[in-house]
Symmetry: C2
Subunit: 398 residues, 2 copies
């Protein structure tokens, strides 16, 4: 075990470089500035795959965006260059202490041939919160959006056409300081790569089967489960394998003695209940209490539900429900449907939940999903592809 103790004088010097505000670093450092962009185009363009050959996150476009940062000078010159390997010292902080965070976004081709992104401002906001949580540098999100636009437009021919097809964008930030000392990274790299992807379920919605998981815990109060850090992902693979060994696709993460439902796999979880007397329905998802990822799809569903579903028939609740409430409501016919929500699958219908050796069937009114699950998926798709305008969520890249 590394018992690294930083001496008081060194810490004090380190601390002086930080401000107490949301922007972690001194204003004297160069800000992220999209106008400094340098572009080096590829001379060997890649072959574009047909839509039916696309595999999520396996192939990438011709170019990538990179911006280096260091504690002395701040953000460097943004560079778009041919997609290439990163060359990093084996002592870099990212390899040892998980100084890494990412975002997931998508770019869509609309009916006019324009390329659009969906609520990128929310991703930038969250990316800065992730960076601040692990002492990586923050940045002006609008500047990164401008740079991402340039990357997307340069690689526009890679954006697949057709409903459900998109260019998955992966903004990533890693600590690149070459030192084994555990401390604030003095160097970082922000980069964006892009992968053409197909619809998550080419044959339409497929309901997933979940194992309610209480032997492993994804996130904890005072931890980092609400931030999009690499640290939250590797620990969840083994529980997923355990669930798979019993025939389930994914984990339904429970928390605490009460059995609060927090997330599903790497998505936010939604449940729809109905009052058997009044018929009034309730859309429920876990509150942002510090253990729940602030999903952009989660936020979009809540906003669409609040503006488009009739208030007299619906209650929209950010509250915990327990596995016991779900079982009880399913048993008496008060569970209407359930789904996961995230960027990759948008909404993913839940068909079954296993808990303590018993399976709870979730109603699927439309065969492969519930009625409202399908409705939310349609609403979001229409906005993402520019068929419908809603609160400026979809932006044409320029």
């Amino acid at each position: 075990m590394l018992g690294k103790l930083i001496c008081r004088s060194r810490l004090a010097a380190g601390v002086r470089a930080f401000s107490t505000g949301s922007r972690f670093y001194s204003n004297k450092l160069a800000p992220l500035d999209a106008s400094r962009l340098q572009i080096n185009k590829t001379s060997t363009p890649k072959h574009k795959l047909a839509n039916d050959q696309l595999v999520f996150g396996k192939t990438f476009t011709d170019h990538m965006l990179e911006i280096e940062w260091d504690a002395q000078s701040g953000w460097g010159v943004p560079k778009i260059s041919p997609y290439h390997n990163l060359s990093l010292d084996p002592s870099c902080a990212v390899f040892h202490y998980a100084f890494e965070l990412f975002e997931g976004m998508k770019a869509y081709k609309d009916a006019n041939g324009n390329v659009r992104t969906f609520r990128g401002d929310k991703n930038m906001e969250r990316m800065n919160k992730s960076a601040e949580r692990i002492a990586l540098p923050t940045f002006d999100g609008e500047e990164l959006i401008k740079l991402i636009d340039k990357l997307v437009l340069l690689d526009k021919d890679f954006v697949p056409e057709g409903a459900g097809y998109s260019l998955y964008l992966r903004p990533t930030m890693i600590g690149t300081q070459a030192s084994l000392g555990v401390g604030i990274p003095s160097k970082a790299l922000l980069y964006v790569i892009a992968s053409p992807v197909g619809p998550y379920y080419p044959t339409g919605f497929k309901p997933v089967s979940l194992e309610a998981t209480d032997y492993a815990v994804r996130a904890w109060p005072g931890g980092v489960g609400n931030r999009k850090l690499g640290a939250n992902y590797a620990p969840c693979i083994k529980p997923q394998l355990e669930a798979a060994s019993r025939g389930y696709h994914q984990n339904l993460w429970l928390f605490g003695e009460e059995g609060n439902v927090t997330e599903v796999g790497t998505m936010n979880a939604f449940f729809i209940f109905k009052d058997l007397i009044t018929g009034k329905k309730e859309l429920v998802t876990a509150p942002l209490d510090g253990t729940i990822l602030e999903g952009v799809t989660r936020d979009s569903i809540l906003e669409l539900a609040r503006t488009r579903l009739p208030a007299e028939e619906w209650e929209v609740s950010e509250r915990y429900c327990t596995i016991h409430e779900i079982i009880e409501k399913a048993t008496k016919g008060a569970l209407v449907e359930a789904f996961g929500a995230g960027t990759a699958a948008v909404v993913s219908p839940i068909g079954n939940i296993g808990y303590q050796g018993k399976d709870i069937a979730i109603p699927l009114a439309r065969g492969n999903s519930g009625e409202y699950t399908a409705k939310f998926a349609d609403w979001i798709r229409e906005i993402q592809y520019g068929e419908e305008e809603f609160q400026g969520w979809s932006r044409v890249c320029q």
Copy 2:
């Protein structure tokens, strides 16, 4: 957010490749085999730094060890080659989902000029537990020890001489699969780098000042705090900065409503109490309940205490003590001393603990440390440098 759901058929195929035992992968894959080692020596040896110029983890020896693994063929040919950057696809799992783990070991030069390592078998055991927890490949620890020996002997001239000087060894494993899908890495790289280091406190022991931390949580039941994963480190930097802003060196991690003391910074925590009536002393450290790192230094101190301290005068306890017990015992004179324990600092005396705005002074009978803190440090140093033989803990590299 990435809502990656692996389809049932793909999962089933993945699951078949796994066994249920401690060795995760099928026996048909090539095992890690030290006899296959290939060595490519540097033609440009580095300048060796004088002892007083050594900074922890900043400079490295001439060579590094690498072994690639993939799910189809298992462990590849071990290679020792000149220290070099890693060249990795920007979509590699290590950059996005924290598929990474490490160990910390040291090699010491003894009075006869031999180079020795300390309890490397414990590090190998722990490294395999870490790998198993995040679905990275496990390996035969004895084979890696043999390979580390070869690296250390090749770079023997970098092992600094003198008490407190050593060659810090950093075995590391990363997931190198080039894909954004969240899943079991199908490729990995195990590598070892080595950094000549000086004594943690060149001027002798210096007591550290800790802030008892309950607003952030290092580890939790059902999480991965007992494994040496990168994921456990980046989240702890911000709390350390917060403690530093109030004048403390490090965090004393508390857990739960009771305020159980778990660890200090990145070390295990030890307290010595005495019974004011009988005079009997108690050495206390947190139990290995799944949230505590299984420190090699922790284990060594417990074993030395149990074999060398008179049983009629000492109790050795793996139990939780709360911050309230520490305050109460400090107040009435029943707190003898306290220290952190880890590979880098070996033992690190604690001089002060801040809790809820008040400071608790910890006795330092010998000025900069307590009597037993110094005794444990001496005992371990004597074994590490081969001055004293104890249970085969120190091994001459061959």
